[in-house]
């Protein structure tokens, strides 16, 4: 027996070894590795983000431009549903039993324990009716969220839109965004996204094995509250913005109005526009494609990315440089025989004025005068060559904001076109002089500006020599902060004393019988301005007007461009005058009201290029036109062909009206705009 006694130690040894194996494995799992600790947290902890309402945007008078509208989604957690009065439920939310079953089964298929959407975006009325009874329907809950709402349905390009983030946005923002988040994609919503979006809140929610939330980790020690977006005060005046959009309906073009002393943009019209409310909610994607497919590119933000030669509107600027350089004086006269000979070509002038001075030259928009000023500037003796003179000249012009970005607080601003001497040398080689580029003196040729830049030039003249960078947002948040760039004065290098003569000329252009924009004179207000009739390779001349008012202590500087509408005095100048009057006096007065209403009705849309659709024979479209013409006078054809753009029908109608009016507007321009 005693030899067997030692077997006790064998058995105890086996037990000890096995316990050590268990402890060894436990030591690895609990002490060495933190893999299980992390896995455990992954199991139970999930971050739930709460989204703040985006900031509200006001206009300069405190009117709400964009707000958040609550929408209610009815959610269901299937495993919490107990038998209830389905008939009452269905009638409350307005569905039938079959629809109820379909939705219910869909929700069950998705998850029994997780809330899923039962019916999205209930109306406020339905929500109110349902809210009372909700306690009777266990397992159902209503989840509120907000969508953007624009009460005035105007200024779509100004606001831009909010959209779900793309993978690129997520990457660019270094993980701030997660799929399904929203981000401002265009306009102010994009530019001020960080102020508007607010601060997202987070709840570290614990989940049990069935995915049912069990409350916050450590009683919310690491949770944060959502902070709603900053309120943003825009510089826009909604009254003139709306008037501007009304005046520009059925026209392609742009209106920009700036308060000269502050650089605040008062009106920011881009036509054709779109209703910003279309870029909200469930239909966003469809509406986007529909607007995108419309002619004349509604998504193009013309005030900052539309390119137009300034035309005659450039003449005051050039004259001011001339005065500053001392190559002309206000009283110096040039002889206008109805044109100007520049080398081997002839620049035609609209009138034969004989000897003409600065004041009258601007009032009459005399091409000859402008060419002489340009000639003087480029043939100054102090420069070694005309090329050097040109380079100095273009640098001075650039100071006015032409060919450079004005850094407006809006994405996708374009800088315009202004050639350097080097650019011309590349194009023309060694031999070129002022006669080669004489068209620049008329604001044509290799010069493109945006409407914003044109309005800014007017602000500079109104301010007699400086501008504040134009901006659309005048204050952010409770503290009303603003970028210091938008209060700084930028001088353009022309002394204030030179301005009076030019301003006199611009005043005459509007207010004297011989002025080009005489028809747009505003009673009681001295508006100074300059018309432009801009030649362009795509069709009829663009109608341009730039100006400011009143002459003393100017409150508004404005640029109006109506594409393919002919003379500046025909469309752009009256439109500018209505807006100016509305802004300064609160309303348009007298018989000008009727004129304004008439202007709103005008249609100068460029004719569309024919839709190139293979399945449809080419004649179908013209046939349709004939048919609708026969249907005539307002009665729209009942059946619209699906393939024709929607705009066609309205356009046809307006065309009919236009042809009855004396002004010839829409001639046969097959090309369209661009």
């Amino acid at each position: 027996m005693d030899n067997l006694f030692s077997r006790k130690y064998t058995i105890q040894g086996v037990i000890l070894v096995v316990c050590l194996i268990l402890i060894g494995q436990l030591f690895y799992m609990q002490v060495v590795s933190d893999k299980y600790f992390l896995l455990s947290n992954n199991n139970v902890l999930r971050k739930i983000y709460t989204f703040p309402a985006r900031g509200v945007i006001f206009d300069r008078n405190g009117k709400v431009l964009v707000q958040n509208e609550p929408v209610y989604d009815l959610m269901i957690i299937p495993n919490q549903v107990k038998p209830f009065d389905t008939l009452d439920f269905c009638s409350t939310i307005g569905i039938d039993m079959a629809g109820f079953k379909k939705r219910y089964n869909k929700a069950v298929a998705q998850s029994r324990y997780q809330p899923s959407a039962f019916e999205k975006q209930l109306s406020v009325q339905t929500y109110a009716a349902l809210q009372e009874k909700l306690a009777r329907f266990p397992g159902f809950l209503v989840q509120g969220r907000t969508v953007r709402h624009y009460p005035d349905s105007v200024a779509g390009q100004f606001f831009g839109y909010v959209k779900e983030v793309t993978q690129k946005d997520i990457d660019d923002n270094k993980g701030y965004y997660r799929p399904g988040d929203y981000i401002g994609k265009a306009g102010v919503e994009r530019q001020y996204n960080e102020a508007l979006r607010g601060e997202r809140g987070v709840i570290n929610m614990l989940y049990d094995a069935r995915n049912v939330p069990q409350g916050s980790y450590l009683e919310g020690k690491f949770d944060t509250l959502a902070r709603s977006g900053e309120k943003v005060i825009s510089s826009l005046d909604m009254e003139i913005q709306r008037l501007g959009e009304e005046l520009m309906q059925n026209k392609v073009g742009s209106i920009v109005a700036i308060e000269p002393s502050t650089g605040e943009v008062l009106a920011f019209v881009s036509s054709p526009g779109y209703d910003p409310n279309k870029m909200v909610g469930r239909q966003q994607g469809n509406n986007y494609m529909e607007i995108f497919g419309q002619p004349n590119r509604p998504f193009l933000v013309r005030p900052i990315s539309g390119y137009y030669s300034p035309g005659s509107a450039f003449k005051p600027l050039d004259a001011l440089i001339g005065l500053q350089e001392g190559v002309i004086t206000p009283d110096m006269t040039f002889n206008c025989p109805g044109g100007y000979r520049a080398g081997n070509h002839w620049v035609k002038c609209e009138h034969v004025d004989g000897n003409i001075s600065l004041r009258r030259g601007l009032a009459r928009s005399c091409n000859t005068y402008a060419c002489y000023v340009f000639e003087k500037l480029l043939t100054q003796k102090k420069y070694k060559s005309q090329k050097v003179a040109y380079d100095e000249w273009q640098k001075k012009v650039r100071k006015w904001g032409i060919g450079t970005k004005l850094d407006i607080d809006m994405p996708f601003e374009r800088k315009g076109t202004l050639f350097t001497a080097e650019d011309y040398s590349k194009r023309y080689g060694k031999y070129w002089g002022y006669t080669t580029v004489i068209s620049l003196s008329l604001g044509q040729g290799e010069m493109n500006t945006t409407p914003l830049q044109m309005a800014n030039i007017m602000a500079i003249i109104a301010n007699k020599g400086y501008y504040v960078k134009p901006h659309l947002i005048k204050a952010i948040g409770e503290k009303k902060t603003i970028d210091k760039d938008y209060v700084e004065k930028n001088y353009v290098g022309v002394d204030a004393r030179h301005f009076d003569a030019v301003i006199d000329g611009m005043q005459e252009a509007v207010n004297s019988p011989w002025g080009t924009a005489n028809a747009s004179r505003i009673p009681d207000i001295l508006m100074c301005g300059k018309t432009g009739t801009v030649q362009n390779p795509h069709g009829k001349n663009h109608s341009v007007f730039i100006g400011f008012a009143p002459r003393d202590n100017p409150k508004i500087a404005i640029a109006v461009i109506v594409e393919n509408a002919g003379y500046g005095s025909a469309y752009a100048a009256p439109i500018a005058s209505y807006i100016t009057e509305k802004y300064l006096k609160g309303a348009v007065s007298g018989n000008r009201i009727a004129q304004m209403e008439w202007m709103k009705q005008q249609n100068v849309l460029p004719e569309l290029p024919k839709p190139k659709i293979k399945v449809q024979p080419k004649t179908a479209d013209t046939l349709l036109n004939k048919k609708t013409l026969q249907a005539t006078e307002g009665n729209l054809p009942a059946v619209k062909p699906t393939l024709t753009p929607v705009i066609k029908a309205t356009e046809i109608k307006s065309n009919l009206e236009v042809t009855k009016t004396p002004t010839p507007v829409n001639d046969t321009n097959k090309e369209g705009t661009r």
Partner: protein, 421 residues
Amino acid sequence: MNNQQGNRFFFNVDWVTILIYMALCAIGYINIYASVYNPDISDTYDFSSNYGKQLIFIISGLILGFSILLLDAKFFSIFSPIIYGVTIILLIAVLVIGRKVAGNQAWIPLGSFRLQPSEFAKFGTALLLARYVSTFNPKFKDFKSIFFAGIIVAVPLFFIMMQPDTGSALVFLAFMFPLYREGLSGYFLLIFLGMIVLFIAVFLLPLYVIIPSIVFVGVYSIYLNKRKQKMMVSIGLATVIAIAYLFLVKLTYTKVLEPHQRSRIEVMLGLKTDPKGAGYNVIQSKIAIGSGQVLGRGFLLGTQTKYGYVPEQSTDFIFSTIGEEWGFVGCIVLIGLYLFLLLRVINLAERQRSPFSRVYGYCVASIIFFHVFINIGMTIGIVPVIGIPLPFISYGGSSLWSFTVLLFIFLKLDANRMGFI
């Protein structure tokens, strides 16, 4: 005299073991409380809940235990065949009138409680095995004694396999240890170990690697023992049996085992990861234990436990709660308590004068050891998932009572060690 005897009765009981026993029961109660804890309903004495019932089981277990101490020590020796017979009858009865729970027909409903006869079969078998050794004093050198001992173990094993309850059946392998202590050749233990190694090898290595390896080992062993002809024959035979065993395992695996048992084995051996199915319990249990780290998350603060990630939390996987909430330190304490208990029971067994008490003591230690090893090993993923309880800790009346009876019979025998049985 009477007074003296009473004193002797109390002084002779091994109070250290009783203290460990009670400590384990307390740990069990606390952790069952934690595993079913719901912050919304926090009534500590809710007797309809698992921890409330467990409290009743513990108290009644203590009463049961101390009443065993009041019985005469000779009772167990004399009545061991009858107790054994009753447990066998119960095992047969459960096959007839038992209730099927999760595929195993292992329960006899008794009012609101359910009786699990396989739990009681363990000490019934232990008692009869002890009686057999003490009566016939076999040396387990001859075929006959090994055969008889084998029959005693095999009969309840057979009926338990019929249920089928593989987990409880495996525990009967624990009787190897007392038999080894009583003279069974160490080769049996080695053969047993070899069977386990080969069993695992079948899954991890292809046959064309295993078979040549076995042949090589066999040939080498024969070469070493070339003087002993008898030994050479045995080794040759063993080699052939080993290879036959391989095919038997393969065959059993594909034809006999249930799919869920197969997948459990595969998950344990790391051949298959199945986080949603068979592997789910083990993965969640390992996460719970591992996340406890050194000091644990604290009482009632284990997220895996509280939020129901580990199934069978209060019964078979109770160790995951301990690991999560009390950490490595808690695990060391628990395993230390078990180790101390097992070594103490073996030491107590060795001081017995009667072979009956000694064999029975070894049975007690082995059964508890097997339970602890398989249960904890299962929760940390080194043993396949076998549904057997952690002694004194897992929730359940049958299990707690049977372990209490098992242990207290031994304590009574030990208290009476000077007497003759």
